[in-house]
């Protein structure tokens, strides 16, 4: 199948922030069966991120406050180059800037790399103290940043949206109008707190974080569906996918490909291979020939 013009062996993609800090991780994930990989969100300067614990489990998934740990765009892009060095695999370079100028500088840097796509993380809920309200919640910011990036970027651009936006369909439309080539949705749901009652303390060092995993799947499905009905650009669906049925549902809702994050924790890196097998089993049982046959075919009641 294809995604934004690139041939991919499977629609299953590594979500940003999971393992994807080094070329070794990224290559490994492709070898283990993913169709594409997304890097951690890279910023202009290196970032240590928050102190641990950065991940707290709860009944419905994970709450994380990694805080955008990354080696910075220069070292990050070295990893992307090494990833592509004599290795076949499609990469999505995720970047995070504090304003549209930073996004533009990041996009320019990515232009010179072998990275296949550029993903704009407009929606990290973990760095609000530092960067204020996520851009993905502010219509004008979406338009401003996507427009500015599209003016300089030579890569197809994905805008990553936040489930916290009150009107995500509007955000999707604005991103499309500003020239985005695709959407990634959804980022983690902000904000969750996991409490350790014995210690009377939040588990996360940063007190709260973004919610991911099975618990956000119904939200992701609804938002992807709404966006799918409004925009023509492809959607990289993400949020709570942990098995083949989840991935099928997400594609039926309207995703053209599906990214997996938290389930790597739950099921290990095999999740890509197993999920793909589960999807294919479903498809052959129910008479679907191609992954693309699934996209958007949900019939609403």
């Amino acid at each position: 199948m294809q995604f934004l013009g690139k041939v991919i062996p499977s629609p299953l993609t590594l979500a940003s922030g999971i393992l994807g800090i080094s070329f070794s991780s990224l290559q490994r994930v492709i070898r283990d069966g993913a169709g594409m990989v997304t890097t951690k969100s890279l910023s202009l300067e290196p970032r240590i991120g928050h102190e641990g614990p950065i991940i707290a489990e709860f009944e419905g998934g994970l709450v994380n406050s990694v805080g955008l740990t990354n080696p910075g765009i220069d070292d990050g892009l070295l990893e992307v180059e090494k990833f592509h060095n004599e290795f076949a695999g499609v990469s999505i370079v995720s970047v995070f800037g504090a304003n549209s100028e930073e996004f533009v500088n990041l996009a320019r840097a990515v232009n010179h790399s072998k990275g296949d796509f550029l993903e704009l993380n407009l929606s990290c809920p973990n760095v609000e103290d530092e960067f204020k309200r996520p851009f993905a919640l502010v219509p004008e910011k979406i338009t401003e940043i996507v427009t500015a990036v599209k003016a300089v970027s030579n890569k197809p651009v994905l805008a990553k949206l936040s489930p916290n936006a009150n009107d995500i369909t509007l955000m999707a439309m604005l991103a499309e109008q500003a020239g985005a080539d695709g959407l990634t949705m959804i980022n983690t749901l902000g904000h969750g707190m996991v409490i350790d009652a014995i210690a009377r303390r939040p588990v996360l060092r940063n007190n709260f974080g973004g919610i991911s995993g099975p618990c956000i799947k119904p939200l992701a499905l609804k938002l992807i569906r709404d966006a799918y009905k409004q925009v023509k650009i492809p959607i990289l669906g993400t949020g709570g996918v942990s098995n083949g049925l989840d991935a099928v549902e997400m594609m039926m809702a309207g995703a053209s490909a599906v990214a997996i994050g938290s389930a790597v924790y739950e099921r290990g890196l095999d999740v890509f291979k197993i999920t793909r097998m589960e999807m294919e089993a479903f498809m052959s049982e129910h008479g679907y020939e191609d992954y693309t046959d699934l996209i958007g075919i949900l019939e609403e009641n």
Binding site: L19, I48, I54, R205
Partner: protein, 264 residues
Amino acid sequence: MKRDRQTLPIAAIREENPSLRTFRFDTQLEAQAGQFVMLTLFGEGEKPFSILDENADSVYITVKNVGPFTNRLFELQVGALVSIRGPYGVAFSLENKRVLMVGGGFATPPLRFLAKSLRARGIDYLVNVNGARSQADLLYVSDFEELCDRSLIATDDGSLGHRGTSVDVMQDILEEETFDCIYISGPERMMKAAVDVARKYGIPFEVNLERYMKCGVGICGSCVMDPNGLILCKEGPVVGHETLAKVQEFGVSHRDKTGRILEI
């Protein structure tokens, strides 16, 4: 997704030497030698520590005071609440019958636990080489003596045992005897030297690696090793000789807290 985090008081603190303390927690982890826990100090952070020992009632870790987190831990008294999760990672294998253990510096706690486990399981011949800068830095000398068939010591300054490194002693031993497996735990340079010796003699080995670890559960990517993408927190910290052959960064480089590559 189930919770495996436990919040509990420090049950006892033993001072091994001015910069080294052993902490007891009264809980059960069913840990094996080589595995580790992630320890949270509330308001401070969370860091990985090897399990020194576990018995029916308690789990022990030994900590060296090296920076902000360990400083803070050394300020805590018995009764202070901390949180641990684990055990995580791959342990040392226990099938071998003729075993050599080579430890350096303060990375010997897992070897002590290993010696105990091998003994409990039944072993034909167990030799330990315990190396440190000087006598004062040596750990668990009498424990190793008790648990092993031969227990040798190397100090850089010769203040006890052989003057030199544990790798020197290892080399001497391998000239005389052979083993099913060599278990190595120490600073990375020392392990690199020990691995070269083990390879020279064609003896299988397992090393106990350390990398920066933040999540401990294979999701954040901090501990992943180049170029094969070994996820050390899940697929290590104990790594066998075949896998190690693919980990080209061993002894060469590691990554800092942001993921940048640093030379070792």
